[in-house]
Assembly symmetry: C2
Homo-oligomer: 378 residues x 2
């Protein structure tokens, strides 16, 4: 699919719908995270499942990140081929095909790791590494409250870690301890309480392993909603925040400690959409629906247009409705939507249209980047 | 992105997640629609927004369809380049870039049409056709109950049709009269009542135009949920059903006239997914989440596995939970999910893996088709 813009175009000339990066806000978000982590003895291993772009991972590494993480072997492949030398698949990898590909990557990159939460996972990873003549770095994933993957903290984690450490084709690299659902707890005190439990479970496990001679070089986890808590924990060594670069509408619903909106990061990702029908004076139908914006975490939100909401999405349409007294945008007019959830929204698009000066009259396309690992979900 | 399978592979060898067509059920669905419409004086113009594949459109035309319809100019481009000679963009097209592309297509294909519901849309289409030295076929979209795009039926539709008929670069081709939301009304009597209103509004408009010397060659609309009603209306000439080829979980929630499930078509599209973690005995985590299955019309449903439900989707995970007493599938096991909504699910994938004998022990990959117009939403 060809890009909906060319370098140098004005914002108004971009075809719609299009996925837009506000380069100014994006760069401030990158810089802010690098600075925030400078205060703590933790490394950033920014999550590439958000952006799916080796180019952005390398930029994050230039600003201090130790490497990237991703969720799938096919994503790791595109990152490594794109020049990212240090990649953790922060997820279980099951199946001969996937593990063979991962083992091949370990021969190309500086460092490749995966997560394990079962005996079968260990055996399959060991066989793949053995067949490829390499060693795979393996983290034990522990369930620290999310209730998804992972062995229980404490003794079960130790037993699996010990089995990994004894395996000749695996290298025990530490723990994966991510509490995904806690990222989106709106109230700060509740979010903090959830992560305090997560940190406590992780500490018990790290201590138990250390008592038994197993050092966790990596204790990984955290996301955009809680990274300051894990950063200050004294236990986590690598933070896996991803969405901070783009900051979607869902994360903006989180509250800061004083109850104010969570404004640590700025919205930097948008869907540019056009009004394609205006059947009545107070209703505008735009050309962005399910194929341009994911709605799994709520609707996208019109940017900078008070009194306007987006709703009734269908495959290629959405309806803007006035809540206030102003007129909605006119037929043919282009507006920006803040995605409800950035990761699956990015996954719908083939191109990032990078705009400089988005909020100025001189907004221009500075660059066009491929969403290189779009569809890489294997 | 490379395909997750090769021709000749057994179902169990396909990498996951993967988008699977049950070729036997798919062919039966194609045949059933062709037969059902043989009884009525209507043509099929099957909707390609469902499958996004010129190959499937051409197959539908071999079975009698007059052409294809789609929602976007970029989809139309891929259909025409893929050999589909007759394409209606069953949607408004606003903006110089898009209309220039559409006018260029009109020079390549046998028949290209679009919908218009505004004076601006008419003027822009006329200018693009004039600049390209061609004539564009234009339908007036009328709002027949969906409350999305379209001018009101009756006089406003006549006025716009008349303006189109008088334009030297446009050819008035008829009416677009689609009631999208009625497709998913569960109760048959309620669905029928909604479409009876739709048919009445359409008839009033067709009659008014005819009285004023405007003949509607095309009266287009209908979908998988209501096509039998429009087919029997005596008013509609072209039916735009799309989902019938795949039949998703959402459409399966519709009821037939006697209250039984809507089984006119069979489920023919699936997501093959693997259990990648089994943290407790009654919970299996699979490798298909938001990046493999759209959840905008409800969750995907495990196929042929009673007592099992899919839930808690995140970007790359879903959780299978037992409602009954059997054990869930084991770690590493592959299962099929029926997509909640086929169109946006297809749009996540680059490849169809076409399987013959899906429900037999000898299930094999017969072919691999690109989702050629994936991401074509401009």
């Amino acid at each position: 699919m060809k890009p909906p813009a060319e370098k140098g175009m004005a914002l108004s000339e971009i075809d719609t719908p299009a996925l837009i990066i506000d380069m100014d806000a994006f760069e401030r978000n990158l810089g802010h995270m690098a600075e925030a982590l400078n205060e703590h003895p933790v490394r950033l291993r920014a999550h590439a499942k958000t952006h799916k772009s080796p180019l952005i991972s390398k930029w994050q590494m230039e600003l201090g990140a130790v490497g990237a993480c991703c969720q799938k072997v096919s994503e790791a492949e595109i990152l490594v081929r794109g020049g990212v030398s240090n990649v953790l698949v922060s997820n279980q990898v099951i199946g001969e095909t996937k593990l063979k590909q991962l083992a091949a990557l370990a021969g190309e990159a500086d460092w490749i790791g995966l997560c394990i939460d079962s005996k079968l996972g260990l055996d399959q990873a060991s066989q793949a590494a053995s067949a490829a003549g390499i060693t795979l770095n393996a983290l034990v994933e522990i369930d620290v409250g999310a209730g998804r993957c992972g062995v229980p903290p404490g003794q079960p984690a130790y037993e699996l870690a010990n089995a990994i450490a004894k395996d000749p084709f695996l290298s025990f690299a530490g723990l994966q301890a991510y509490h995904g659902s806690a990222q989106h707890i709106r109230d700060h005190a509740e979010r903090k309480a959830a992560i305090e439990e997560t940190i406590a479970m992780t500490k018990v496990t790290v201590d138990l392993l250390l008592e038994n001679g197993l050092d966790c070089e990596i204790v990984g986890g955290a996301g955009t909603g809680t990274f300051e808590m894990e950063a200050a924990s004294g236990i986590y060594t690598e933070l896996q925040a991803g969405s901070y670069i783009f900051m979607d509408a869902d994360y903006a619903r989180n509250k800061a400690a004083d109850g104010s909106p969570f404004t640590t990061f700025e919205h930097a990702l948008f869907i540019l959409t056009s009004v394609m029908s205006q059947p009545t004076a107070n209703k505008s139908v735009v050309d962005a629906g399910h194929k341009a914006a994911s709605v799994d975490s709520g609707m996208p939100e019109p940017f900078g247009l008070a009194g306007l909401s987006y709703g009734r999405p269908s495959d290629e349409h959405g309806v803007l409705q006035m809540n206030g007294t102003n007129q909605p945008p006119a037929l043919g007019e282009k507006i920006l939507l803040i995605p409800g959830h950035c990761d699956p929204t990015v996954n719908l698009h083939d191109w990032y249209i990078c705009v400089r000066g988005l909020n100025t009259a001189d907004a221009k396309v500075e660059d066009i980047w491929p969403v290189a690992a779009r569809g890489a979900y294997f």
